[in-house]
Symmetry: none
Subunit: 191 residues, 4 copies
């Protein structure tokens, strides 16, 4: 009888390798063979798990976009201020734990190869974000204005912060706190 085993799930190994290579070289600039090599497998095996480079790209995109959305999904009825603080931290944690994933998702352009499902997922994420803003507006905590616009601003700020850190900017816990407060000021209803 065989042990339940603990083999590294091939698909996941491939996706990790793909993420690394895509992040370094861009989806367009990455070679499938390089992904396979990085995963310690043959190209043939890669193609047993993913029918094409495009499919691989989408799988990676969806996996991490999904991971990200899962993190920040839980809502509840907390005040927007509290929820925002939590989300800010969660995304920052995500970017710390999976910096390549965040870079791949947010610092690159994916237009050329994303399939319908990937696009739908992205839209679901935005919708959730806008929903959060709208709710905060309804409770008077968040300033008036197109929720999509406000979301674009704060999320942009967050992405900018993470990009700067990836570029070498060192920030202590206090400063991270400060960044969150500043970002909230962007959102907060004027006194």
């Amino acid at each position: 009888m065989q042990e339940p085993t603990e083999r590294p799930p091939t698909r996941a190994v491939l996706m990790d390798a793909a993420l690394a290579v895509f992040t370094e070289q861009t989806y367009g600039g990455a070679a499938v063979a390089e992904v396979a090599k990085r995963a310690g497998m043959s190209v043939g095996t890669l193609y047993r798990y993913f029918p094409s480079k495009e499919a691989l790209g989408n799988a990676v995109f969806q996996r991490w976009k999904g991971m990200l959305v899962e993190r920040i999904a839980g809502s509840g009825d907390e005040p927007a201020r509290v929820m925002f603080a939590r989300m800010w931290r969660l995304v920052l944690d995500f970017a710390d734990e999976a910096p390549d994933a965040f870079a791949f998702l947010e610092f690159q352009q994916h237009e050329g190869y994303l399939d319908a499902e990937s696009v739908a997922l992205s839209e679901r994420v935005s919708a959730a974000g806008e929903e959060f803003v709208a709710r905060g507006q309804r409770t008077g905590e968040i300033r008036a204005g197109d929720p999509a616009m406000l979301l674009a601003l704060v999320y942009g700020a967050l992405v900018g912060l993470i990009k700067a850190r990836r570029g070498g900017l060192k920030l202590g816990a206090a400063e991270l706190e400060a960044s969150e407060r500043a970002a909230w000021a962007l959102l907060a209803a004027e006194n």
Copy 2:
């Protein structure tokens, strides 16, 4: 009688075509032949003006990064609040007038091919931004905190806004005003 001339400056035509193709397909995903075709020229001609794809990429990058920095360069001794409003508008205008250029510069990852000069130019831009923040902090208009961090946040917010607009978000003049006010709140010293 004819005006002294109006020749299409070949180099510029090529760089425009390159910008369009790079923006659509990413530097890594773009084919040099496609750039030449889009410019209405042969590949050979492209290579008479640029020694390599890399050189072309850097030329495009530097041209537009330079353009952008030129726009927002003028400083003066105005209050930070005024200066910020002007800059916000200027970058927005730039992105309206040259949307591909902005997308190419700010929505993509360039790490793989940028040369020293391109990198230096990018750094000069950041330095100018940080200088602006630092000055505002000295006058008490801008909140305390690492200037690089604050710059990353606001510039990220601006990029996020422009990305959202490129993605289809429609905003009127009033809302653009509002976005600027919100962004300033991020920067402004807490009263």
Copy 3:
């Protein structure tokens, strides 16, 4: 039942094709695609076996230069006269059996692409030849003079002979004998 196998050793097939094409068109004038076609393979396959045209050129050069040197290597303590006769015949045989190889090696100029190893091999061959001449001089069989010079003369004569045969000159066994005697006269100590 089948013999253990007889697969065409891909590398060797490629090198044979390369030799043929290089001999016909010169290394510089040969197209890699033509080599692949002649070998009945795709370009991609060629590049799986040789990292570059240069590497292919060097591999072909070294294979045949090595073959040639192997042929004429064995020395022994025979009189120079005997040894010379044998070598003359061996090189002639080599040129008969592998006329393209000899032409490639000796009728062309390789300066541009030969790597260190190829150059070293060539030098080893010359050194062996000079050693033969020097030994013959020590025994008084071969005339005085710079061994390198004498080697250049006889080997040149041999190459000239083979080139003429390749150009259409027909020689019977007796005449080949005569050529050897004449060449030896060049070398022989004056009575």
Copy 4:
């Protein structure tokens, strides 16, 4: 009225440049543009003087092959021994004065592009050589055997010598003398 002038004859300048480039890089490996640049002219000008790369190659070949044949042409009724000594020296001088030309003519393979005229010229040269050998045989000075074979041997020896010198072999006047004596031994009738 115009001065007889002394402009550098464009055609000759081009042919000199071509010789240099062909010698360095082989006809097949040489770029027409490089020839033009080396000649200090534009490609357009080159093409005004030579209708194609092939034509240029043949012109260069014929010019120098012609030069060489001219040198060694004069016959007279001298003894073969004397004539041989003179020719040996003349070719050596030619190779000293125009080393690139000799290398181009004799160290390379030209099969691919030589036209009928070039081939005819080469044949005329051989014929003259064979005639010299035949005459020497008639006077009993040169050993018996196919004149083409004997010519191939001595001329090969001479080419070998010059190639070795080009490769770095240094020879004094005495050794050059010795080389000539050795080469004559190859030809000389066995007493």
